[in-house]
């Protein structure tokens, strides 16, 4: 088997006496579309925080394309190609979408420390930023200040900012959280339209969406991996139904 894009070995974390990640072993093959599901409080977001370096694990290791990144800071992981989005919008409220994505592209190109040339003269950076916005259908509203953007567009901007770092692996924490059901499809269509080389792991509660977009599902319960496998296997698993699916209405 070739080197996974992202993997964890015996990853553990506890908040005091409460274990929130217990011996997590995950392998994301290159180009995978994995869904991470589980009841509230199962530790899904914690796992993303551990993988991206926003939390330090108590034990275990994280590998990005074979490289041990466990001791690297969040921005170093981003620079190596591991990006994330946030469940609760974590945007630059006072910047417009174009400025925000231009900033993210400039950071990736290592231009953001330059103070002697205007932003407006960095045409390649701006073009790249606008192209990302256009692909996510944010082109029309890119001059609007982020805090004034409709909520669904803010969710897309979350993804745009992550894409600007040109990730190899993208972790999406409930990308359509808070978006009305009739619009959440739009967010996931945008996700599905991303490049095939991009390895994706997304947290999602809506089982329609999960079964439609995921090639593989990981089920977490109380900080541990309960089971994982093909969508068909997961949906037929009586144990999964009991801990998770059984509590929800789904078709």
């Amino acid at each position: 088997m070739s080197t996974p894009a992202l993997s964890t070995r015996a990853l553990s974390k506890a908040f005091g006496s409460l274990p929130v990640a217990r011996d997590i072993e995950i392998n994301l093959p290159v180009g995978a579309r994995y869904a991470l599901i589980g009841p509230n409080g199962a530790g899904k977001t914690t796992l993303i925080n551990l993988m991206t370096g926003m939390l330090a694990p108590n034990a275990g290791q994280i590998f990005l394309g074979g490289e041990d990144i466990t001791s690297l800071g969040p921005q170093e992981r981003v620079r190596r190609g591991l990006a994330r989005t946030f469940q609760i919008n974590t945007l630059f409220a006072g910047l417009n979408a174009l400025e925000a994505v231009t900033l993210a592209v400039a950071e990736r190109r290592r231009l953001a420390g330059r103070f002697w040339r205007g932003v407006g003269s960095h045409s390649e950076t701006i073009d790249e930023a606008y192209e990302i916005l256009r692909k996510l259908r944010l082109g029309d509203s890119c001059y609007q200040v982020t805090r004034e953007l409709p909520y669904g567009r803010q969710r897309l901007l979350e993804i745009a900012l992550a894409l600007a770092t040109r990730p190899k692996v993208l972790l999406l924490d409930e990308p359509a959280a808070g978006v009305p059901p009739e619009e959440s499809g739009e967010v996931f269509e945008a996700v599905a339209g991303l490049s095939d080389d991009l390895t994706l792991l997304f947290i999602e509660h809506d089982m329609h969406v999960v079964f439609r977009f995921a090639s593989h599902i990981i089920v977490m319960v109380s900080g541990a991996i309960f089971t994982e496998g093909q969508p068909a296997k997961i949906s037929a698993d009586p144990g999964v139904r009991e801990v998770y699916l059984g509590k929800r209405k789904h078709g």
């Binding site: 921005q75 974590t90 174009l98 993210a104 950071e107 990736r108 932003v119 407006g120 001059y143 900012l161």
Partner: protein, 329 residues
């Protein structure tokens, strides 16, 4: 605003952000008026320009990056004492004096920035306050070097470029301060509109998101803080040279607090906020202290409370809000 700009390409839009507004040209032309209208107040005008430069330096870190400092006068003082001492020990050439004083303040600012970049909010306010007090007491204690509370005496500045002597009326002083302010302003304006300026605004707008887009916020803050410290030192040096005197007041907490008040009055995070704030503050001080020399701060207090309550983004923030409203759509 959006209706007018949606037709622009992204690049043209971003370029338009940094274009000179006619009001800016009016502003800078108006800075020449004191030569004609108030020739008796050129010394005050020079002090205003110096204070504006100091406020501009604080705006870079506070207004743009959201880094609060209550000890910014430390760098102003370091620049002032450096420029004063260089002259006292025999080298009175003003321009090299400015360069050395700026470098000294920038160097110390760089060292301090390693502490600054690790903290935020309340902790940072306390740290900068503490560092400012340390600098003040160091200058006070080093009486043999700084003159302590007697002030640094014996400064003698040679004519600028060997031609323009600092005169009693303040012609040279105001010209000198104004040119320094304008040159630094041009640099600051460029910085604000650069990718680095965008990164500073990113830090201010969302500290948590910055690492998630691969940004090293601490390195950005170190750089911005060093630049701000250097400019503050430059402002102090210009004051030392134009007044041929450095008092302990130049490194005091009062000066750190005053510059913060000016920035809040004028509008932080706007290039002209510090400039307008310094102008209002200094003119108000001049006028109020004429009325009641001991209680003039009372009126500054009234002004500050009123502005903060009525115009949370400062006077410039309020004006631009009105301007945006009344502008023909």
């Amino acid at each position: 605003m959006t209706t007018a700009t949606t037709t622009l390409t992204p690049q043209a839009y971003l370029q338009a952000q940094s274009r000179w507004h006619p009001l800016e040209i009016v502003f800078w032309l108006a800075t020449l008026l004191p030569f004609v209208l108030f020739p008796d107040y050129l010394s005050l005008a020079s002090q205003i320009a110096i204070t504006a430069l100091f406020a501009l330096s604080l705006d870079l870190i506070l207004g743009y990056a959201g880094i609060v400092s209550l000890g910014h006068a430390a760098f102003f003082g370091i620049g002032a004492y450096t420029a004063g001492l260089i002259s006292k020990f025999g080298w009175g050439e003003p321009l090299t004096g400015l360069v050395l004083a700026t470098a000294a303040a920038g160097l110390i600012g760089f060292a301090v920035s390693f502490i600054i970049s690790r903290f935020r909010h309340f902790t940072l306010i306390m740290i900068t306050l503490g560092l400012g007090l340390l600098a003040f007491e160091a200058a006070n204690r080093a009486h043999w070097l700084t003159g302590g509370s007697d002030g640094l005496q014996g400064i003698s500045i040679w004519p600028v470029l060997g031609l323009f002597k600092f005169d009693l009326y303040g012609y040279t002083a105001y010209t000198y301060s104004l040119i320094t302010l304008f040159v630094v302003f041009l640099g600051a304006r460029r910085l604000i509109n650069s990718p680095f300026g965008l990164a500073l605004r990113g830090i201010r707008e969302n500290w948590v998101r910055m690492p998630a887009i691969g940004a090293d916020s601490r390195s950005h803050i170190r750089k911005a803080f060093t630049i701000a410290a250097a400019i503050a030192g430059l402002a102090g040096a210009v004051l030392a040279q134009t007044t041929e005197n450095v008092s302990l007041e130049s490194i005091s907490f009062q000066r750190s607090a005053d510059v913060l008040v000016m920035l809040v009055l004028g509008g932080a995070g706007r290039l002209y906020g510090g400039l307008i704030g310094a102008l209002i503050f200094m003119v108000a001080r001049d006028q109020f202290s004429g009325i009641a020399p001991q209680y003039w701060y009372f009126w500054i207090g009234v002004l500050l409370v009123t502005v903060v309550m009525v115009l949370p983004n400062g006077i410039l923030g309020g004006l631009s809000h009105i301007y945006a409203r009344w502008r023909p759509k």
